[in-house]
C-alpha cells in the first residue's frame, strides 16, 4: 500500500496554476526523484504534499499508517537562518517538536534521538557550534539530522545538494542512499537529472511534459533521451 498518493493534483498560487493533473504514488522504501527545470514547480509540489499549501484541485492522501507529522522535511534554504543564533544541538533537537506535541519540554528519549541522528550524520563534534558559522555541507547535514528526528519513515528533501561543491555533493548523495537502504522512503527534489537517474527507484519529471514511472521506464522514455546527455560510462 502506498504511503503517499497524489491524485489528479493541481497546484499553484492564488488561482495561478503551476502544475496540473499530477498522478503518482510512493510506497515504503521507494526513492523518488522529482526532476525539472528551475521554476517548474517542484518546491510548490513538495509544500502541497506536506500540507503547507492547499491544492487547487485533486488531493494528497497518506496511507500505510503514515501520519502527517511523521514526514521529515528538508526545506530549500531560507534567509532567516542566516543570522539566527542557535547551536547545532538546538536545531537538531527542534526536529522532535512534532513528537513532543503539547508537552513543553523534550524528554530523555527525544534528546537521545537527537544525539543518535547527529551521530548518523557524523556531526556530533559540531553539536555546540553555531549553525550560522558552518559550511553549506555541514548545514545540510544538520538539517538532515533534524529531519531524521521528525521521521523514521518518509523524508522529503528539497534540493539538498544545491550550492554544495562536487565532493560534498557526493557525500550527501551517499548519506541519503544509506538512509534509503535502511528502509526510509525518500522523496528528493533535484535539477541534476543525471544523479537522479543514478540513485532513484522512481522518477517524476515535471515541466511542459510530465512523466512518472520507475527509473528503467524513465531511461527508455523520450524525455530522458532529450534531457540526459549520454556520457559514455555514466549511464547505468
Amino acid at each position: 500500500m502506498a504511503q503517499l498518493t497524489c491524485s489528479n493534483l493541481t497546484l499553484g498560487y492564488e488561482g495561478h496554476v503551476v502544475l496540473s493533473g499530477l498522478n503518482f504514488s510512493v510506497s515504503a522504501g521507494d526513492y523518488l526523484c522529482i526532476v525539472g527545470e528551475n521554476g517548474s514547480g517542484k518546491s510548490t509540489l513538495v509544500k502541497t504534499m506536506l500540507g503547507l499549501m492547499k491544492p487547487l484541485g485533486g488531493r494528497v492522501t497518506l496511507g500505510d499508517g503514515l501520519r502527517e507529522n511523521e514526514i521529515g522535511y528538508l526545506p530549500q534554504q531560507t534567509a532567516v537562518q542566516k543570522d539566527f543564533p542557535a547551536t547545532v544541538r538546538e536545531v537538531v533537537l527542534s526536529g522532535c517538536q512534532g513528537r513532543a506535541g503539547m508537552r513543553p519540554f523534550y524528554n530523555r528519549q527525544e534528546k537521545a534521538l537527537a544525539r543518535e541522528s547527529m551521530e548518523k550524520m557524523d556531526i556530533t563534534a559540531l553539536a555546540g557550534r553555531c549553525y550560522r558559522e558552518l559550511s553549506g555541507g555541514q548545514q545540510q547535514r544538520v538539517l538532515l539530522a533534524r529531519a531524521l528526528c521528525a521521521t523514521r519513515r518518509l523524508l522529503l528533501l528539497d534540493e539538498p545538494v544545491s550550492g554544495l561543491d562536487p565532493m560534498v555533493t557526493q557525500e550527501m548523495y551517499a548519506l541519503i542512499r544509506q538512509l534509503n537502504r535502511e528502509g526510509i522512503t525518500v522523496i528528493m527534489i533535484s535539477h541534476d537529472i543525471a544523479a537522479a537517474a543514478r540513485f532513484a527507484s522512481h522518477i517524476l519529471h515535471v515541466g511542459n511534459t510530465v512523466f512518472f514511472g520507475t527509473r528503467e521506464e524513465y531511461l527508455r522514455s523520450d524525455i530522458a533521451a532529450r534531457f540526459l546527455v549520454p556520457e559514455g560510462g555514466d549511464r547505468p
Binding site: 500540507g51 514526514i71 543564533p85 538546538e90
Partner: protein
C-alpha cells in the same frame, strides 16, 4: 548618596516601581530575538503607536485605570496587524505604517480637543517618553503589571521550544505538525501585552529600544538561542535597575535613562565580540 537612596526606598511606591520595572524589563527582553529575526519587528513598532492612541482615548474618557482599556485595545490591534502583515494583496508594511501613524495622529488630536489637563504637552511627552509614570501607577496597575509579567514569563517558558521551532523555520515546524499560525498569534498577543507593560516604564516611543537592544547585545556575544535569551534577560534587568536608580538619584527621566544604559551595554557587547573575534583570529 546611599543615604538618599535609603530615603527613597522607604517609600513603598519607589520599591514597587523597582519591582515592576525589573519584571517589565525581564519580559520585554524575552521575545527580542524572535522580534528582530522575524518580520515581527514591524508589529512591535506599529503596536507602540497604537498603544499611544489607546492611551489618548483612555485619557479623554477619564478612565482611572487606563491599562484595563489600553491592553485589550492593543491586543486586538496586534491580531489585526498580524493578519494584514500576512496578507499578500495589501502591501503589509504600508498597511502597518498607516495604522501606526494614524493612531499617533488621532491620539494627539483627541487629546488636544478633549483633554481637560492644564499641561497637555507635559502629558503627551510623558506618554511618549515615559517620564516618571512608573512612580505614579495606581495600586491596581502595579498589581496588574506584576501579574501580567508573571503570565508572560510562564508562557514564554512553557512555549520556549515551540517559539524556537517556529522562529527558526516556520515551514519545517508546520510540516512536523506544529500549528505555526496559532503560535504566531500567541507571539503577537504576548508582544502586545509586553508593549502595554513597557509603556509604563519607558513610554511608547522607547519601547522598541527596550525590546531590541538587549537581544542585539546578547547576539553579539552568545551563539546559542538559550545563551542569547538568558543573556538578554540578564542584561535587560541589570540595565533597568541601574537606570531606575540613576534616574531616582539624579532626577533624569526613567525611560531615556534606561535606554541610554541599554545603548552603553550594546557598545560594550560589540567591543567584547570584537576582542573575542580578534583572539580567535
Amino acid at each position: 548618596m546611599i543615604e538618599s537612596l535609603g530615603l527613597y526606598f522607604s517609600f513603598p511606591l519607589v520599591r514597587y516601581a523597582l519591582i515592576v520595572g525589573v519584571l517589565i524589563a525581564l519580559c520585554s527582553s524575552l521575545l527580542g530575538v524572535t522580534l528582530v529575526l522575524r518580520r515581527f519587528s514591524f508589529i512591535g513598532d506599529g503596536l507602540s503607536h497604537v498603544a499611544f492612541g489607546a492611551m489618548a482615548i483612555a485619557g479623554v474618557l477619564h478612565l482611572t485605570d487606563d491599562m484595563l482599556f489600553v491592553l485589550p485595545f492593543t491586543v486586538l490591534a496586534a491580531i489585526l496587524l498580524l493578519r494584514t502583515g500576512q496578507n499578500t494583496k495589501i502591501k503589509g508594511d504600508a498597511a502597518v505604517a498607516m495604522i501606526s501613524v494614524g493612531a499617533l495622529a488621532v491620539g494627539y488630536l483627541l487629546l488636544n480637543l478633549f483633554s481637560a489637563s492644564a499641561n497637555l504637552s507635559g502629558d503627551v511627552c510623558s506618554t511618549l517618553f515615559g517620564s516618571m509614570s512608573i512612580l505614579t501607577l495606581t495600586r491596581t496597575e502595579v498589581w496588574l503589571c506584576a501579574a501580567l509579567s508573571v503570565v508572560v514569563l510562564v508562557i514564554f517558558i512553557l512555549f520556549y521550544n515551540r517559539i524556537f521551532a517556529v522562529t527558526f523555520d516556520e515551514d519545517f515546524a508546520r510540516a512536523a505538525g506544529t500549528r505555526a499560525e496559532a503560535y504566531n498569534l500567541l507571539i503577537a498577543v504576548v508582544i502586545a501585552v509586553i508593549i502595554v507593560l513597557a509603556m509604563n516604564l519607558v513610554g511608547s516611543l522607547l519601547i522598541s529600544a527596550l525590546i531590541i537592544f538587549p537581544a542585539m547585545s546578547a547576539m553579539r556575544v552568545f551563539r546559542s538561542f538559550r545563551g542569547v535569551t538568558v543573556c538578554s534577560a540578564v542584561l535587560s534587568v541589570v540595565c533597568a535597575v541601574l537606570g531606575i536608580l540613576i534616574s531616582v538619584i539624579v532626577g533624569t527621566p526613567v525611560g531615556s535613562t534606561i535606554v541610554a544604559i541599554d545603548i552603553a551595554a550594546f557598545l560594550v557587547c560589540c567591543a567584547v565580540s570584537g576582542i573575542k573575534g580578534g583572539i580567535r583570529k
